[in-house]
């Protein structure tokens, strides 16, 4: 097991560097010249040849003339900068946001908290609904109640998240006026403690609802499929033949095994929600989360921030996949990894 995890970690690191190199290369396709930007105010006060000399000096100082791979290594912190020190991603320098005029590392925590809160709540609620629902569907497979739930779930997972968002705004914020249409807190309010938390949750309720609704469909189907697969296994037949009660068969024998494949899809789904889903949701509801931050940064061509967040997203999905695989081997002894 240790060997397996070690192997996977090595592999993760390699993939991370490959992806980050690709990202850096793509980022470098954008025509930009920070040296020229820094020198521009001096253009009028200097003679042209003096300006050109200083500009060239600054370029060398910034290391802009180095080949791509060297610049990448410097940005990553694997290669000394021109002044000889290591100052890159690995040393904790995530870059400087031109849009916020602050270091990227200072900007990210607050939106991150919102996104994590949003995803945490929606995941808990979704799982609390889908697992019992999926099991119910599998047990009552091909009966009218199951067919009805199946039909609804197709709708749920076919519709794009933003469309569900618009629909829910129309229903809950415009028609019935239960929730606000967007934002993070009551404007002008200055709550503290529990009141602040309550207010935040009130504003987050509709986005959570949308995420739950869109997640509901896919997860229910996954749970149902897994459960049905398990119920057709021989050991379930054996359990029934032994004369066990149906409840015992389902809740003691079947569902634990059925949840094994589900655990993988939960992780995959969470990654998808954390990266793509929250992006759409936060844009729709003007929620200050990482997704919206990323969207705004891309729109404002604040590329250092974008790059840092892209690295973060990559890391999240890579670690997510790793955790999935490890958890899979942990919960299912049949999966042998040290082959």
């Amino acid at each position: 097991m240790k060997k397996y995890i070690f192997k996977r970690l090595i592999y993760l690191i390699i993939v991370f560097f490959v992806v980050s190199l690709m990202m850096y290369a793509i980022y470098n396709l954008i025509p930009s010249d920070p040296a020229l930007v820094a020198m521009e105010p001096l253009r009028k006060s200097l003679k042209p040849d003096e300006f050109a000399r200083q500009y060239q000096a600054l370029r060398t100082q910034m290391g802009l003339d180095a080949p791509l791979i060297q610049r990448y290594a410097r940005w990553m912190g694997l290669w000394p900068d021109v002044n000889g020190s290591f100052d890159g991603l690995l040393q904790g320098n995530f870059g400087y946001s031109t849009g916020y005029k602050r270091d990227v590392i200072e900007i990210i925590p607050t939106p991150m908290l919102n996104t994590v809160l949003l995803n945490f709540c929606s995941t808990i609620i979704t799982l609390a609904i889908t697992i019992p629902l999926g099991i119910y569907c599998a047990v009552h497979a091909r009966k009218p109640s199951d067919s009805a739930i199946q039909a609804t779930t197709v709708i749920g997972y076919s519709l794009p998240t933003y469309l569900v968002g618009i629909l829910f705004i129309f229903l809950f914020a415009v028609l019935f006026r239960i929730f606000p249409t967007g934002g993070a807190k009551t404007p002008g309010s200055n709550y503290t403690g529990l009141m602040e938390f309550g207010d935040r949750m009130y504003y987050m309720a509709l986005p959570i609802l949308v995420l739950v609704f869109t997640g509901l469909a896919g997860m229910t189907r996954t749970v149902r499929a897994a459960m049905m697969d398990t119920l057709s296994q021989d050991y379930i037949r054996t359990a029934r033949a032994k004369g066990l009660k149906e409840k015992v068969v389902i809740y003691s024998h079947a569902w634990r095994n059925a949840l094994l494949p589900v655990s993988t899809s939960i992780m995959g789904w969470m990654i998808a929600v954390f990266t793509g889903g929250s992006l759409v949701i936060e844009t729709t509801f003007a929620l200050k989360g990482t997704g919206r931050l990323y969207w705004q940064a891309l729109n404002a061509t604040d590329y250092e921030l974008v790059l840092a967040m892209q690295m973060f997203y990559t890391l999240v999905s890579l670690v997510g996949v790793l955790l999935t695989d490890i958890s899979y081997t942990l919960v299912d002894p049949r999966v042998r990894i040290d082959k």
Partner: protein, 624 residues
């Protein structure tokens, strides 16, 4: 092209053999004959079983039919619904769906038309008995409704009406002026002397006019009185110079000119900077009457000539030859309509909404009166019958830039489906080739390909697609950007299919027919792509169907976030971007409801078809 070529060479090579795709489709759709169960076991191909299973489920069949209808609709309808990408009109924004703009009330025709005036999207009229009617799109906002005619107007005998952009002015037989509608910019606040005159009736009113947020009346003693939004139009009026000489006036959107008793058109305010207020020499004398479109003014001279000046953008100044004398002219937003002495009608200017196409039925009737405005024409003949032509309305309304939602819906659908289909084809090509190679050869090749697949699939999809689109799509045209989106979607989504093909390949390559093919010395590429892949295709079909739905969803999500196909090219995704606004969601529901519905239904159908195919392919589902 290349596929056509291979088709050619193939058919040439083996004379009787059809092109494989053709053969597959034929087998898929036209199974030969029903077989009894034993014969079927022997002869029925798995594909035919799948088709039969699929078509035995009503849900799948309905989904397939609905999807085909939607697909045909979005690919055929754009041929008939033209889309002008640069088109927008500030007077046609946020119009609700429906064709009521020319639906005049029957009672008006029965009682005889006294006057009709046309505002942006509505018309107002009074009949011979003095009753006022309003029809068309008369809801200015949620609260302001132009059809709520004030009580004193209902009680009065109205003889003249004038429709502005969002306010109505009316004149009764006693010379009282009324105004109602949107008063946010003081459009309906009558000036003090008019309010006083409404009580005393000191002077009579000859004619009333209304335009964008401002109004004008010409009194019996030849004065002009103006009121309304002074920021929009220069309402300063040279009263000392012109009082006692004003006979007629013409109001464009932001300016006005008057006709004096000397037969000369005069700029009546101190600001002569607008093109309309620069009066040409021909209009300085001998003018009989004047009319206006939204940006131009037309003068009818005593000698029967018509002169048009101003910012003519849609051919308003291309005055045609008249077959007889012009009796009167009237202008819409971008066109003019002239009534000739012999009772016939001539139109010129923009014909975007058929407002300059005089209907054939008018040839036989003798027209007495014409009322023109916006994109509508009303003509009253000698029997009192009303003839109409021009813009009736929009099937699905218009968006916030005045663009036809229906035209954008069908063209956007075509775009979304094309992108979805092409990106799936790209995905298929990469996925099947790489999966086939990895699965067939195994070993190092497999290792390398699968590691690449893992790298690609470990990249977070939407953020990555966004940055690719943002970086690569900056300096390219819309069309190139569209192709870039397709390639991005295809290139980022192939690993799933690749894994599926690889897994199938592993089991297929051990089969006897592959061994036989190898023994016969068939080339390996041929074994993979023409022996094994056709057998694997049926399993891939599910994945491909679902991938098509996913591609459409992803494209629309990217467009929604502003990193897909850029505006003004419509796709279903970026049409819904407009709807990300609680006011639009609430008041202008047609902006998102129709697009959302058709897109939702299309996606649901694709998923149902995919599910149906999966069930049909599942051997356990066959029941034996």
């Amino acid at each position: 092209m290349s596929s056509n070529n291979t088709n050619q060479t193939r058919t040439n090579g083996s004379a009787k053999k059809e092109f494989f795709l053709f053969r597959w489709i034929k087998r898929l759709l036209f199974p030969n004959k029903e077989l009894d169960i034993y014969a079927e076991e022997q002869l029925q191909s798995p594909m035919r079983m799948v088709v039969r299973n699929f078509f035995s489920k009503p849900m799948s069949v309905i989904a397939l039919v609905v999807f085909i209808i939607i697909a045909l609709f979005v690919f055929i309808a754009p041929e008939f619904v033209e889309l002008d990408l640069g088109e927008q009109d500030s007077t046609l924004v946020n119009i609700s769906p429906g064709f009521q703009m020319l639906d005049y009330p029957g009672e008006l025709e029965k009682n005889g038309v006294q006057d009709i005036s046309i505002g942006y999207n509505y018309s107002v009229a009074c009949d011979k008995t003095g009753k006022v009617y309003v029809w068309g799109k008369y809801k200015v906002t949620q609260v302001i409704d132009l059809s709520e005619i004030p009580e004193n107007v209902q009680n009065a005998k109205i003889v003249q009406v004038a429709a502005g952009s969002d306010h109505i002015v009316a004149l009764d037989d006693k010379g009282t002026v009324y105004a109602w509608g949107n008063n946010r910019l003081r459009q309906t606040m009558l000036p003090a002397d008019l309010v006083a005159n409404n009580r005393t009736h000191e002077f009579g009113i000859r004619k009333i006019y209304a335009s964008d947020q401002f109004s004008l009346v010409v009194t019996e003693d030849n004065r002009a009185i103006l009121w309304g939004n002074e920021n929009f139009a220069d309402l300063s009026y040279k009263s000392s110079e012109l009082d006692g000489h004003v006979l007629d006036a013409a109001l464009t959107n932001t300016a006005y000119v008057v006709l004096t008793d000397t037969g000369s058109v005069v700029c009546a305010n101190f600001n002569a900077s607008q093109t309309v207020t620069k009066i040409p020499l021909m209009a300085m004398h001998g003018v009989k009457s004047i009319a206006s479109s939204s940006t131009t003014v037309a003068a009818l001279r005593e000698d029967g000539r018509v002169i048009v000046w101003g910012a003519a953008t849609k051919g308003e100044n291309k005055v045609p030859q008249f077959s007889s004398d012009v009796v009167s002219i009237d202008g819409g937003r971008y066109h003019y309509t002239a009534l000739l002495k012999d009772g016939s009608i001539v139109c010129w200017g923009s014909n975007r909404y058929k407002q300059s196409s005089v209907p054939q039925s008018l040839k036989d009737s003798k027209i007495k009166n014409i009322f023109v405005g916006s994109f509508q024409n009303y003509a009253v003949d000698s029997e009192g019958e009303i003839h109409t032509w021009g813009l009736k309305g929009f099937l699905l309304g218009t968006d916030k830039l005045g663009r036809d939602v229906f035209a954008r819906l069908v063209n956007g659908g075509k775009m979304t489906m094309t992108i979805g289909a092409l990106s799936v084809i790209i995905e298929m090509i990469i996925g099947i080739i790489l999966g086939g190679i990895a699965g067939y050869f195994g070993g190092v090749v497999d290792m390398v390909i699968m590691r690449i697949a893992e790298v690609v699939s470990s990249m977070p999809f939407i953020p990555f697609a966004m940055i690719l689109s943002a970086v690569m799509g900056t300096k390219v045209s819309v069309e190139q950007r569209m192709y870039i989106i397709m390639v991005i979607l295809g290139v980022l989504s192939w690993p799933g299919l690749c894994r599926l093909v690889r897994a199938q390949m592993f089991s297929q390559r051990e089969m006897e027919y592959v061994v036989a093919a190898k023994a016969l010395g068939v080339r390996e590429s041929k074994i993979i792509f023409s022996h094994i892949i056709p057998n694997v295709m049926s399993v891939c079909l599910v994945s491909i169907t679902l991938a098509f739905g996913t591609s459409m969803l992803t494209e629309s999500t990217l467009s929604y976030l502003g990193f897909g196909v850029p505006l003004p090219t419509p796709t279903w995704g970026n049409m819904l971007t407009n709807a990300n606004d609680s006011i639009i969601i609430q008041q202008y529901w047609w902006n998102w409801l129709f697009v959302g519905t058709i897109f939702g239904v299309a996606c649901i159908c694709i998923n149902l078809i995919g599910d149906g195919l999966r069930d049909a392919l599942d051997p356990k589902a066959n029941g034996r």
